[in-house]
């Protein structure tokens, strides 16, 4: 009998990851596998560790134990077990494999919309200025901002800034895109335009892990929902199951009940 590799190996493989800030344990042996093309939404009460988990995936936060692999390669450490950090150069290269979109946009205020996108293309991907400009314009077109290429972030609305933020991340052609509460800082009327962009990326097959409070969007756009509580994965499954009424998880049920009470 031959052992064949699994048909669909995990692109992102988080296993047994733990992390503490001082005496507070924010992640407790979290495990999560994401396969290519999947859209995984992480929900949970604040302080449940969702954002920290996301930030560990591109090593903006270090983790104390466990392992996070992207395409089989350990993210922040040279070798598992030794916990030897990668060199600055190595780490930068690993981080370029993931894209991240931030709650507070974090656009570079001194660069134009196109400039924000071009910086990584030129300095990390080594593209020429003309090439980078063409790619930037392509992605700005995709997020509906072709006409804003030469605008500074301060001249854009919040929704427009966040769409540039998304374009900046995906233009690097990351293997996986991390979205950290990307609509939380937006006025309600601007949320839709940003989620529309995310939806179209999902349709293109972009692998994504997102933390969000937009339950309706999570239900429609994700292939899987992960519910985190107290630093651990408390429930995970298809949206219909997790957001459905039959789920046998007291914590999740009370979270959803409280959530619905405050949002409707």
């Amino acid at each position: 009998m031959s052992i064949s590799p699994p048909a669909n190996p995990a692109l992102l493989d988080i296993s047994d990851v733990s992390k503490s800030f001082g005496s507070v344990e924010v992640l407790r042996a979290v495990s999560l596998q994401v396969t290519r093309g999947e859209v995984v939404t992480v929900i949970g009460p604040s302080g449940s560790g969702k954002t920290t988990l996301l930030r560990c995936v591109n090593f903006l936060e270090s983790y104390d134990s466990g392992s996070i692999r992207i395409d089989g390669k350990e993210v922040g450490f040279r070798e598992m077990g030794t916990h030897q950090r990668r060199s600055e150069r190595d780490l930068a290269k690993m981080r370029a494999e993931t894209g991240m979109v931030f709650q507070s946009f974090n656009l570079f205020p001194h660069l134009t919309a196109a400039g924000n996108i071009m910086l990584g293309l030129r300095k990390v991907r080594g593209k020429s200025s003309t090439e980078a400009r063409a790619i930037a314009e392509h992605w700005l077109g995709r997020v509906g901002l072709a006409h804003k290429a030469d605008s500074l972030p301060a001249e854009l609305s919040g929704g427009q800034q966040q769409r540039v933020g998304i374009a900046r991340a995906v233009a690097m052609e990351p293997k996986i895109l991390l979205l950290d509460e990307i609509t939380s800082a937006l006025d309600p009327e601007l949320v839709g335009e940003v989620l529309e962009v995310v939806r179209s990326l999902a349709e293109d097959g972009m692998t994504m892990v997102m933390v969000t409070h937009e339950m309706a969007f999570a239900r429609d756009a994700s292939s899987r929902i992960v519910f985190m509580a107290d630093g651990g994965v408390s429930a995970a499954g298809p949206p219909a199951e997790i957001l459905g009424t039959e789920i046998d998880n007291e914590r999740l049920r009370s979270f959803l009940a409280r959530f619905r009470a405050s949002h409707f």
Binding site: N58, E88, A92, K93, G99, F108, P109, H110, G120, A154
Partner: protein
């Protein structure tokens, strides 16, 4: 009286040139040293941060005059012989370096953490983050106080006259020693220092106003 002063003008001009030369050296050297140490203070490992902190707090805690005497008289005592000109430049550079460290810390510290994180997330290395994301933004906050602080180098340079270096201050005192025209010469000296420094502080204010239009 005016004739005597006119006669002394070339000599005063030479002194003024020395004042400008000392100031220029101090400003350039302290900029290099201060930016490097400032980066160490903000991003360095703990021992380096402490070392820079202690350096800056010590230098800023003592009078420039004491620093100048310490370097000028102290170095030969431990076997290091510097010309008085270079001893003066070294002492003033130490003083200015501490200032530059604090300007840099203030400027870099004012940039939100998210900027570094966004730069990390697209895969920039530490040096790239500094060069393309942090410094271009910090520059606007650094420049106005730094230019204004150049006046401290110019004013501080007047103290090197005490080491027998013929800068503008010393030249004025020497001319007074010969002509006894103390008041006109001190006023002339004050006017010269004033013109240089006031121009610098005006430039600083204009830059500040210009940069304030660039929103974050």
């Amino acid at each position: 009286m005016l004739g005597q002063i006119a006669y002394a003008l070339p000599f005063l001009a030479q002194g003024f040139a020395v004042t400008l030369w000392v100031s220029l050296l101090v400003v350039v050297l302290s900029l290099v040293a201060g930016v490097m140490m400032g980066v160490g203070l903000v991003y360095g490992p703990a021992p380096l941060r402490w070392a820079v902190r202690i350096f800056s707090d010590t230098i800023r805690g003592i009078p420039i005059l004491v620093l100048i005497f310490f370097v000028y008289y102290g170095l030969p005592a431990v076997g290091i012989h510097l010309e008085s000109f270079w001893a003066a430049v070294l002492a003033l550079t130490l003083f200015k370096t501490a200032q530059v460290i604090e300007y840099l810390r203030g400027a870099v510290g004012s940039i939100p953490k998210g900027q570094s994180e966004a730069a990390m997330a697209i895969g920039l290395t530490f040096r790239q983050r500094l060069a393309y994301v942090i410094f271009p933004q910090a520059f606007r906050r650094f420049l106005p106080p730094w230019i204004n602080g150049v006046t401290d180098a110019v004013k501080g340079s007047a103290l090197v006259s005490l080491l027998g270096i013929t800068d503008l201050m010393h030249a004025i005192n020497q001319v007074i020693g010969r002509t006894y025209e103390a008041m006109p010469l001190y006023i002339l000296g004050a006017v010269i220092y004033f013109v240089v420094n006031y121009a610098l502080s005006l430039a600083s204010r204009r830059l500040e106003r210009r940069f304030s239009f660039i929103r974050e």
